[in-house]
């Protein structure tokens, strides 16, 4: 079995091209648990947590480019938290401080869990994922990357290099329901982001479908009833809005929650997020 440390993205491209069955180890917060419980067969591992390019981020104009190995902690606490507040809020909900020191944004995406906490935020923001292999580079939308429960569309020799996240000019909210006040897998989560200049509202849900999903109809509906100049929303449409958000969810029953509680709470979260961002108008 190979245990390799990639020194650069180019080196990583080569190591994967040599043997595409090698698996990538970034923060290890999911990977190592799966290994320890023998839920993951490994023939070779490439540690990518020492690749400098993947650990950096930069702000270019109207977006930030975040390397895939940037940690939750850096997103939660560093300057990124001012640029993408909802992403920082979602990072804060993940695990313990030790987990947030180790876990990475690229890992959150590649793991593709329905409960991946950053995914609804990145969906709502319309982020793009830069995927690379030795032979090609390509850009994927989040919904193109994440295709099912813990399934992504990366081919074996590809890796996530970075994520391009638009910087918007309006308030953002991430809310997550779980039975514990911290360190909990989400039962439901919701991201709502706005851009006042572009009159844009993006809404995405976590843990209520096989993959985190956008609430397109609710977004379209509510955008018809927002006054962007006064930042108000019509009070008589809230109920309808809540219903549309609930309709975009298709939750399951499991040991963490019933589907009816998930549906109920996603509606409540949508209303509360909306009313944190907009005042009620007439």
């Amino acid at each position: 079995m190979d245990f390799l440390i990639a020194s650069s993205t180019e080196n990583l491209c080569n190591l994967l091209a040599e043997d595409p069955t090698r698996q990538l180890l970034a923060g290890g917060t999911d990977f190592m648990v799966e290994v320890n419980f023998r839920h993951r067969d490994i023939s070779g591992v490439i540690a990518i947590d020492r690749i400098k390019e993947l650990k950096q981020w930069r702000h270019d104009g109207d977006s930030v480019l975040i390397g895939s190995c940037v940690t939750y902690k850096e997103i939660e606490q560093g300057p990124l938290s001012a640029l993408i507040p909802a992403l920082a809020q979602s990072a804060r909900t993940i695990g313990s401080p030790q987990i947030r020191n180790a876990g990475t944004i690229g890992g959150n995406l590649a793991t593709a869990s329905p409960a991946g906490d950053m995914i609804p935020v990145l969906l709502a923001l319309g982020a793009e994922v830069n995927v690379r292999s030795k032979s090609k580079v390509r850009q994927l939308r989040i919904d193109e990357l994440i295709t099912g429960v813990k399934v992504n569309s990366l081919s074996e020799d590809e890796f996530i290099e970075s994520i391009r996240v638009p910087v918007l000019s309006g308030p953002q909210e991430f809310l997550k329901v779980g039975p514990r006040n911290a360190m909990v897998i989400s039962v439901t989560s919701l991201a709502m982001v706005t851009d006042i200049e572009k009159k844009y509202i993006g809404i995405a849900l976590g843990s209520v479908s096989a993959s985190p999903c956008r609430s397109d109809e609710a977004e379209y509906f509510i955008s018809q009833h927002i006054d962007w100049d006064s930042m108000t929303v019509q009070s008589d449409v809230i109920e309808n809005f809540e219903r549309l958000v609930k309709e975009s969810a298709s939750p399951i029953d499991d040991h963490r929650s019933s589907s009816s509680y998930r549906t109920h709470t996603v509606g409540v979260l949508a209303r509360r997020a909306l009313l944190r961002i907009f005042r009620l108008g007439i």
């Binding site: 997550k176 006040n181 979260l269």
Partner: protein, 751 residues
Amino acid sequence: MSILEEHIASSAGIGISASRPDGKEKARGDFLFSNDLSSEDMLWGQTLRSPYPSAKIKRIDYSRALAMEGVHAILTAGDVPGENIFGLEHPDQPVLAFDVVRYVGEPVAIVAANHPEVAKKAVDAIIVDYEILEPMVDSEEAIYSDPIHPEGNVIRHLVIRHGNPDVVGSIIVEGEYEVGMQDQAFLGTESGIAFPSSDGGVNLHISTQWLHSDRDQVASALNLPNELVRVSLAGVGGAFGGREDVSMHVHLCMLAMHTGRPVKMIYDRNESFLGHVHRHPAKIWFRHHADESGLLINVEAKVILDGGAYASTTSAVLANACCFSVGPYSVPNALIEGWGVRTNNPPCGAMRGFGNVQTCFAAEAQMDKIAKALSIDPVELRLLNALETGDTLITGQEITGTAPISEVLTSLASYPLPEAGTNAILELPGGTGRTTDKSHVKRGIGYAASIKNLMFSEGFDDFSEARCIITDGEVSIQSACVEVGQGFVTLVNQIVEETLGLTEVTLLPVDTSIGSAGSTSASRQTWMSGGAVLKACEAVVDALLSDLASESGISYEKIGLSLISTDGSDSIGIVSALHGRNYDEHVTHRHHPTFPLDRNGQGDAHVSFAFAAHRAVVDVDEELGLVRVVEIATSQDVGRILNPVQAKGQIEGGVAQGLGLALLEELILVDGKIVNANFTDYLLPTAMDTPPIEIAALIEQPEPGAPFGAKGIGEPPVISSTPAIVAAIRDATALELSRVPVKPEDIALTD
């Protein structure tokens, strides 16, 4: 100055916050826990467990596994040298399943290999043909259905009939309650190492709660005389009752003796949840009768505890659940009927609070219902009914010791309430999830009180041995008392310092070379083993006084730490008197005897009682069903405080565990299988869930017969904290909430 600060200000012996001798090591990570033990040529053990709750074993084929490189032994039921049966109170559980499996996780085969991964692969390679049977997983149905075990499904049926149970009150409240399966969830999973010895015996180093009970069960299964099984305590990473039963003990010894090499095992977290007993899930029905003033006049109850597949301590847990079902209140008439039953669920046994927890949750809800029906303040109602010394329990036993329930309740009720709510979003319900603003929050306040019996009950011969050895003035103490974190190691130093004035105390290795100290459970070790150490030290003093008298011809008496001649001519310090002398005093300490319950559940079955009360303040987001506990305040009857900081530690830990049962902690079973045997989904309270724990008062009324007058303090904090929290949620929401843990949807989805 608070009561705690006053004690801290003092300087030596009993009553001060002496620091733990192992504290620094533990804080630095230097302490050797059982999983740190190793030996050069050791092998690693692993267990094959049943994936089914009920099945016949038709065939086991381990030929391929045994042929794997590095695999040294694979043993099954036929290889158990002695009786293939064990059990803490009653042997009914196979060491290795031989014909059927009765729960998911039951051990079927054990492997020793040169590496833990090889051992795991070998376990995977063992083929077992099972004929899957329909499991019995409902505790109520189990009472009347086909037996899942040769001894039948009812482990114990207990009826308590007291006074005239036909009395009808003018106020009647009724309710059905449920308690889910809580787990001890100690942080250090089960681990140990066994060494074969040249005399044909075995030396077992294991994290446990009771060395001698382990030894007896291991010896019987190995067909060895007790003296060839030597059990030594290995560093314990938490216990809470979950290490009272034998887990890997016999397996390790079998593998070590079979291979002739040391064998070590460590359960991983998932296996740990399968490898120890849990708190009994309970179904409870209550009907309380009170008169118009709120005085309890009759209580009827039915209690069903799900013991899982094997007996463990179900019988004693049921006795507690029934004997103390009505709580710390005077009840003249009662009819309580309890069943401890077998099912194909995981076995249940001891956990902190031991049966009192389940019925306290239900009975305290009933008390609130009576208070509500009569529009009486819930504390007033409890005070009206509070037991006092001289009162009689529903078992007919008179309380002869201290019973300061009124003081406990009054001090708690007068403790100031916390400030009005915060605006800080992380401190509101939902925490880091940012779900809740202050406008969504309702605040609630709830009270609950509890009674806990201390030490073993129902006629059990409960004792502890200790030796005090003086070698040229230096002191060593020997006891088989297991330190699981409760602070016995600190207390030993304090007792020796208090009685002999010596500050450098050597605590000898804790093993079976001395007689039993009994289990570290039932809030009993301070009384029992602390009492034994005290007695051994006093025996040294007596021997010294008698030597001094015979040497000098004058008699001496001990006053404080001085020895004064009765003629007043001489006074020497005990430390200098001990200098150059040698003693070895070996004593046995017993509490006063108890007696079995008769056919009406009457009898002096218990030794002593401790009382506590809790007040919970919660913020509830009703729409999402999320709860933030704002503060828990408590008063507790402690007899006497021996070590204030350790007392506080016990209270804080116990309250956190009670909070866990109220809101978070439950092993979820689907057809007998635990679906959340991990810390991702078995949710323990985090620092953000555990509020400030305020000690309103520690009531010090020395208990007659108890060493230093001290009562056990470990269990009461966990018992009434749970019902207090749920009462507070009911106060905020007006919901019934008859089951714990209370889930968010229990609050949010009721119309």
